[in-house]
Symmetry: C2
Subunit: 295 residues, 2 copies
């Protein structure tokens, strides 16, 4: 039996489709079919039920899937552990879109300077997909905002960050010295997609104050939210790190008081996977680089 067979098998299992899986694996579909056939020969029974439009795992296949994942994880960890010199290696970082562009660049640059032989890979995605990637060992750690439903994952909070009210400069609230959430009630909100956890943070904060924000628009990028605010489509709440990167004078930021809306940034990783020295160094770097944010 070959490890490629197991990789192939897992890909088909995940995709439920030979053709797509073959594309992912960059082999031809016939090659994949034959590889699975051979696996099934060796196991003495089929691992897939071939339906006309898709394939699904048989009972044996389900069993095999779990084992194959274990096996490949062990082997990948073994490779990593053997080649672990504390300097070179790969760190695959995941981050959500409302953190990545504002927080990661400086971190990556400084880490890269400290560990020039390390290769850094970044994946930007939503929290749920990042957690899945982390669980499956496709990334080494993820930087997300709490709370996260992270079963079997290790979570370490990094710092707390304020969410600032953003509005056009001519907005009625812009000149108010002390704004409370109640003051915002009359104004419509521009919010991110439901896919973004920042929306959840904002909405759940408002709900705690018995206030249901009226979202007039749902956008997929934070920069676009900022632009729409400038165009007076509504107000919004923006993480402090995003404000620091905003050099426009077409919008103004104000703190809310009593209570301040906050979000907690945390790093998440899979403790069942081997943690290379480089990886630990990266986490240490994260802690060190973020203590300045206070938290």
């Amino acid at each position: 039996m070959d490890f490629d067979q197991l990789r192939y098998f897992l890909q088909v299992a995940e995709r439920g489709n030979f053709t797509r899986a073959a594309e992912d694996l960059r082999i031809s579909q016939p090659a994949l079919s034959r590889s699975i056939q051979k696996l099934e020969d060796e196991l003495g029974q089929p691992v897939f039920e071939r339906r006309t439009r898709s394939v699904s795992l048989t009972e044996a296949g389900t069993l095999m899937q779990a084992r194959a994942q274990q096996v490949l994880a062990i082997l990948e960890d073994a490779r990593a552990e053997i080649t672990d010199d504390g300097q070179s290696g790969r760190v695959r970082v995941g981050a959500i879109p409302t953190i990545a562009p504002y927080f990661l660049p400086k971190i990556l640059q400084r880490f890269s300077a400290a560990f020039p032989r390390a290769s850094l890979l970044v994946q930007e995605s939503t929290t749920d997909l990042l957690l899945k990637s982390c669980t499956q060992g496709e990334i080494d750690l993820a930087i997300v905002a709490l709370p996260v439903p992270a079963k079997y994952l290790e979570i370490e909070p990094l710092f707390e960050e304020e969410l600032l009210l953003v509005m056009p400069p001519n907005h009625p609230l812009a000149d108010k010295s002390r704004i409370r959430l109640g003051d915002v009630k009359p104004f419509p909100f521009v919010l991110l997609d439901e896919a973004h956890c920042l929306s959840d943070n904002i909405v759940s904060f408002c709900r705690q104050q018995s206030f249901n924000p009226v979202a007039v628009e749902r956008i997929s990028q934070l920069t676009m939210v900022q632009e729409l605010v400038s165009l007076s489509h509504g107000v919004s709440m923006i993480p402090a790190m995003a404000r620091q990167c905003d050099e426009s004078d077409r919008r103004v930021y104000r703190s809310l008081a009593n209570p301040k809306p906050m979000r907690t940034i945390a790093v998440v990783w899979n403790p069942y996977r081997f943690q290379s020295r480089l990886l630990k160094a990266f986490r240490a770097h994260l802690r060190q680089s973020t203590c300045s944010h206070g938290g």
Copy 2:
């Protein structure tokens, strides 16, 4: 990477010698050399230190050894679990020489009748080697006499068995109605090798009675001990199960009293390995078949 590579690697690691390992694996030595080379290429560093007369694991090799064992165990278990139908399959039984010929035949025959599609494999060896085989997954269970130093192994006592004093028919003690250990003191002992745990059982029993048996001869087979006793080389202690198989009139068996020497037969297995339904059935069969011995 191929699973054969891992198997090859483990064999070389265990043997410390390419040539011998190749013989064990039934491939040529050059093929083995090349397979290991390829593994080392894939890992980016050597797994063996080639010394002139033998090879030993490098640090990376030691790491890899543990992982390879895990991987192969998982895969073997997966195969077993997938093909586990409760009727067919393989049961590899180990037993020590002072148990195997007297106890196993009936067990095997009855189990084989109840599970005709099962294949039974027997390995007769000393306790320490059986435990090692059990740990390494080379056998599924072992039948031994307590006590056993069985770290990470499950132990289930089956029954207790008396050790009987055996002597020639014309021996002075043969006519004594009630023999105590002190009465045996003047007579020399015929004992098994140190390798056999039965010797340990006997010696430790005697020591508890502050009696050091004088072993005039150390033999490797229980039948030979019986024969030498017949030839008046000395007396000995023989498990009850061996007495039942002894149809000769050239020796007589007597119980010792206060206390009776006993040994406890137990079955040992590796709980970290997959326990097929057939395997569980075999253990149940063992329990059921031995409750008659009283225990």
